[in-house]
Symmetry: C2
DNA sequence: CTAAGTGCAAAATGTTTGCATACTT
DNA sequence: AAGTATGCAAACATTTTGCACTTAG
């Protein structure tokens, strides 16, 4: 369904290591370029984007889109291991922009419900809940 | 908190009418420009973007971001009326790109849960569930 | 040797901004 | 009259593409 195999190149390995090391962080294509630039071993941006896409396809990274005119964020997921118990949801505050990671059993029910009732296989790793976080809600009492 | 008042201009009214008429549809800034272009009464794209932003701030439209390098979508919400029973969730298929509108009581529980347990006020109108739709899942049995 | 990946620079998108002019209130 | 909106064109930022070259298998 997807074309050909994946070569193990220096660039790919370096990027992967970088993401692995920063697991849990949200990293943009620009961040990646900048980082390796500073390391004195730059990776062409075209390569960065192409590898990023590939890694997302392979399920090693997740891609999150926050702002329309702003870079997409990528996050390390793990080596093809989709550990259910590590599964986490993301909440993005529309007010302060904060991104909250939620680990919650009950939320996993959503996935089951969507699947059973609506035939939709939720990808919790890519899904972002938008709303207002606790702190902002407090200031925002209208 | 936000600057100044809002004038009732031709452009704004036309845009609003257009969105209202196509309630439920997902419309891009480009769509808006194109539509009025064809009507023979074009609206400058800067104006379109500025009004779009404004309308979102005012809560008359919702903004959805699907692809990083793709236009944002806007959808009519209603005249400041947040009818709970009209509340709907969006599921976006990562495979075929289809966007599904879901009206579901159970899903509304998510909002309650997030609010009560995590202090997060979900905005279901802006939140998009990513995953694989029924049809694609069938072809995709791996 | 062949398929896949790289890097550069150029193009393509989508969105934002500066500024002079025009419209609303 | 004062404040806000408009429209154009230019500026931006992010992402994608074409092509010659290199590298992995």
């Amino acid at each position: 369904m997807k074309g050909g195999s994946t070569y193990k190149t220096k660039q790919r390995e370096k990027m992967l290591k970088y993401f692995e090391k920063h697991a849990g962080d949200h990293i943009t294509a620009g961040d990646v370029c900048e980082y390796f630039e500073k390391q004195g071993e730059p990776i062409g941006q075209a390569t960065v984007y192409r590898q990023l896409e590939k890694l997302v396809d392979e399920g090693l990274l997740n891609k999150y889109i926050m702002n329309a005119a702003g870079p997409a964020c990528f996050e390390f997921v793990g080596m093809r291991v989709h550990k259910k118990d590590k599964m986490c949801f993301h909440c993005k505050c529309e007010k302060c922009g904060k991104l909250i990671h939620l680990h919650c059993e009950e939320l996993k029910e959503i996935g089951k419900h969507l699947s059973e009732e609506h035939g939709f296989k939720l990808n919790p790793l890519r899904t972002v809940f938008y709303g207002i976080c606790e702190e902002c809600a407090r200031e925002d009492e209208d």
